[in-house]
Symmetry: none
Subunit: 403 residues, 2 copies
C-alpha cells in the first residue's frame, strides 16, 4: 500500500479543528513503584481520559527506541523508516539553522590533532561554548565561499558545530569525514556512489577542511575537525498535500520547530514557557485546522532522571488543559512521541499512553491517563503513524474508501 497516495486520495478539507498535544517523553516505567504520570495524579488529564478512547502508541516498531526525528514523523502521519532524515539535518534544526533546497549540512566536532594530523582527542577537550563561538567567528570570516559554494558555519555547544554548504550540484551520498577513533589521521569523506555531484562535493569539503586546519593551527586543542551525517534537505510531501490540512506547530525548542517545518507546518511565533504556547494557541485558533502543541520538558527531566520535576511538568500541563479544551476542538489527542523513563535517563522503546476525544469516540473503562490504565483502553496498542488517520476520521476529513 502506498500510504501517501492512499491518504491523498481520501483526505478532504473542512472547517473542523484538531489538536495534537504532545508531552515529549511523557511515558515511563515505575520509579519507586510509580511512573511520573501515576505520581502526578493529574486531575484534568484523568478526567479527559474517562471520556476518551484510550490506548498505547508504538512510535516505530515494538522494542525500538526512536530518536526525536522518527518519533515525530510517526506522530505527523509519515512512515518514520522511509523518512529517516540525516543526522546533519536534525543537528542543524536543533540549533535553529534554516536549511533549504540545495543545502547540504553536516554536524561537526572540533578535535585535537598532532603535527602529523593524527586525531588525539575527538572532542578537543570539550572546549567551552564561548571558545567555540570565537573559533566559528574566525573561520567564518576567512571562509565564505569555495569554488562557488557558499559556506556557513554555526556554533553548537562545547565542541559541536554545523556546516552548511549551498549549491545546486552538491550531494549527501558521501561518507563521514571522521576516522572514528583516536590515533588515526584526519579523514576526508568518500563517495557512497560514483557521480559528478559526489566528486564535486568531496572536492569542496577537502578544500574546506584543509583551509580550516590551516586557520586553526594556533587554536590548540581545537585545531582539527570531523564532519559527520552529511544530509541534503529531505524531499517530503507536505501535510497540506497529503492530508489537506492547514497545520500549525506550537513548539519552543528549535528541533521540533524544524521537524514540523519539514512536513510543511506553519511554525508559529511563541515564547519560551508552556503558558506562552497556550497563549499562541488561543491567538492563532482561527487561522489553522490542525495544531501540533509540543511540550518539551517532560522529556528533558526524563533525560536528567529528575522524577520530581518531570511530575511537576505533567502537573503544569494538567493545569493548562482546561484552557486548551475551552477552545472546543472537534478532536483532541494527547500522547507522547516516545517514552523517556527517569530510571533510564534516556529515550526508551515503551509505547506511549494515548487518548483521543471527540463526539464520535467510544468512551472506555480507562480512569486515568497513565501507562498502565491506557493499556486497558479500547484502542489497544497501535502504531503512532495511525494517530493522524484517527484524528482525520474523527474530524470527518477522510472520505469513505471504496463503494
Amino acid at each position: 500500500m502506498d500510504r501517501e497516495k492512499f491518504f491523498k486520495d481520501l483526505s478532504i478539507k473542512n472547517g473542523k479543528k484538531i489538536i495534537l498535544l504532545i508531552m515529549d517523553g511523557v511515558g515511563g516505567i515505575p520509579y519507586n513503584g510509580k511512573t511520573a504520570l501515576e505520581a502526578a495524579e493529574a486531575k484534568n488529564l484523568n478526567e479527559l481520559a474517562k471520556k476518551s478512547s484510550c490506548g498505547r502508541t508504538v512510535p516505530v516498531a515494538i522494542g525500538v527506541t526512536p530518536g526525536s526525528g522518527p518519533a515525530h514523523f510517526s506522530l505527523f502521519g509519515y512512515d518514520p523508516i522511509k523518512y529517516n532524515v540525516g543526522r546533519g539535518i536534525l543537528e542543524a534544526l536543533g540549533i535553529d539553522v534554516e536549511v533549504a533546497k540545495h543545502d547540504v549540512v553536516a554536524r561537526g566536532n572540533f578535535c585535537t590533532i598532532d603535527d602529523n594530523k593524527i586525531v588525539t582527542d575527538r572532542r578537543a577537550g570539550r572546549i567551552p561554548t564561548e571558545k567555540n563561538r570565537e573559533i566559528i567567528k574566525l573561520l567564518s570570516e576567512n571562509i565564505k565561499e569555495i569554488d562557488g559554494v557558499k559556506i556557513t558555519l554555526y556554533s553548537g555547544k562545547e565542541h559541536r558545530f554545523v556546516l552548511k554548504m549551498a549549491h545546486p550540484e552538491l550531494s549527501d551520498k558521501i561518507t563521514d569525514a571522521d576516522p572514528q577513533k583516536e590515533g588515526l589521521p584526519l579523514k576526508y569523506p568518500e563517495p557512497k556512489i560514483s557521480g559528478e555531484k559526489e566528486a564535486f562535493t568531496i572536492k569542496i569539503i577537502k578544500k574546506f577542511m584543509d583551509k580550516a586546519v590551516e586557520i586553526l593551527k594556533d587554536s590548540h586543542p581545537a585545531n582539527g575537525l570531523l564532519l559527520r551525517g552529511f544530509a541534503e534537505y529531505p524531499k517530503i510531501p507536505s501535510m497540506q498535500e497529503i492530508f489537506k490540512l492547514n497545520p500549525a506547530a506550537i513548539a519552543n525548542y528549535p528541533m521540533y520547530r524544524g521537524l514540523a517545518k519539514l512536513v510543511g507546518m506553519n511554525v508559529l511565533e511563541v515564547g519560551a514557557e508552556i503558558d506562552d504556547e497556550i497563549e499562541t494557541l488561543k491567538r492563532e485558533w482561527n487561522n489553522y485546522d490542525y495544531f501540533f502543541v509540543h511540550i518539551k520538558k517532560t522529556d528533558s527531566y526524563g533525560e536528567d532522571g529528575n522524577f520530581e520535576n518531570k511530575v511537576k511538568i505533567i502537573k503544569k500541563v494538567d493545569e493548562i488543559l482546561p484552557e486548551i479544551l475551552s477552545l472546543k476542538p472537534d478532536v483532541i489527542a494527547v500522547t507522547g512521541d516516545h517514552s523517556t523513563p527517569c530510571k533510564m535517563e534516556g529515550h526508551s522503546w515503551h509505547p506511549n499512553p494515548f487518548m483521543i476525544f471527540s463526539d464520535y469516540i467510544i468512551p472506555d473503562a480507562v480512569e486515568k491517563f497513565t501507562e498502565r490504565e491506557c493499556a486497558k483502553g479500547i484502542l489497544g496498542t497501535f502504531n503512532s503513524t495511525d494517530i493522524l488517520p484517527l484524528l482525520l476520521a474523527n474530524s470527518f476529513k477522510l472520505k469513505k474508501f471504496g463503494a
Copy 2:
C-alpha cells in the same frame, strides 16, 4: 509477503465446517449512552461471547471508513486495497446485473441538457423510477449493439442506471463521461493510457452517447446522460483456489451476493427474510464447508439512524443463533463488515466487535458481544483480513508453516 501464494501453499481441504455470520454495520458508538449491541442485551450472542475468543477487527486501516466492497473483501481474506473493484461493478452487482469476463460496466445518471448540450441538472430532477424504466426500455429497443459490441442497459432508482458493454477488446482504463458540474457540456470519456482497446472503447461510447441523446431528445428532463466508474470484471483468484474451500454465500441483497460471486462463492437461493437465510443454511448444510451468512438490516437501520430497529434486528439474530449453533459448525465467527453508528447515519471507521468459537479457542473474560466488551478480548484489535486464516486454523485447514 505474497499473501495469496502463502495461503495457497498452506491451505488444505478437509470435512470441517465454517460459518462466518456477518451482521452488516452492527458496530456503533454510544447513542444515549449505549450502542445498539449494548442496548439489545442479546442473550444468546452474549452466551456465545462468554465461551469465545473475542477482539475487534479493522476492515481496511485505522481511521478509514470502508465501503461495502473493501469491507467484504477483507472478510473474505483478500487485501481490500489490492482488490478495490470499480464503482461500476458494485453498482451493477447492487441491482443484480450479471457481470462476466469481457464485460465493461459503468454507472449512469440521466441528466438534463439544454439545446447546446450543456448539463443543467446532473440528476434530471430525480425522475421517478417508473419513468426511468420507460426510458431504459426505449433505449434498449433502439440500441442493442454498436460495431459488434453488445449493449445492455439496466434501470436503477430514480435517475440511475447501469450500462453493460460486452466485447473482448474493451478496456476500463478511461475517464468518466461526466463534466463533474452543471453549466458544462456533456463530456466523452478519455483514455487513461494510450492503447487500441481504449480507443475502441471510447469510439463505442461516443456512438452510444450520441445515439442515446438523439433517442432521448423528447424525454426532457431526462434527455442526457453521464457515465462514471467504468470497470472491467475484476480478475480475482477464487476462494477455492487460494483457500481450498467449497464456499457458499447466503445473502438476500444483490450487492453482497455479487461480492461473494466475485471471489468464487456459490451463491445460494434464498428468500428475503432472516428466517429464510437460516432455512437455506440448514438445507444446504451438507453441501459446502464454508458459509458466509449475511444479515443486511443492521446496516440499513444504522444508515437510517433508526436505533430502535437496529436493536430489533440484533435481537432477531440473537433469536435464531441457537438454530445456527445446533448445526454444530466446527468453527463459527460473528462480526460486522464495518460499523454503522446510528448517530452517524452512515458507515464509520470504528472497528467491529468480533468473536470466534471452536474447540480450540481460549475463552477470555469477555461477558458480552459488544464493542466495549470485545475490546477486552484475548484477540485484541486486528485486521479483518486475518479472520479467514483464523477460521481455517480453527478448522485445521492450514498446514504447519516450515518444519
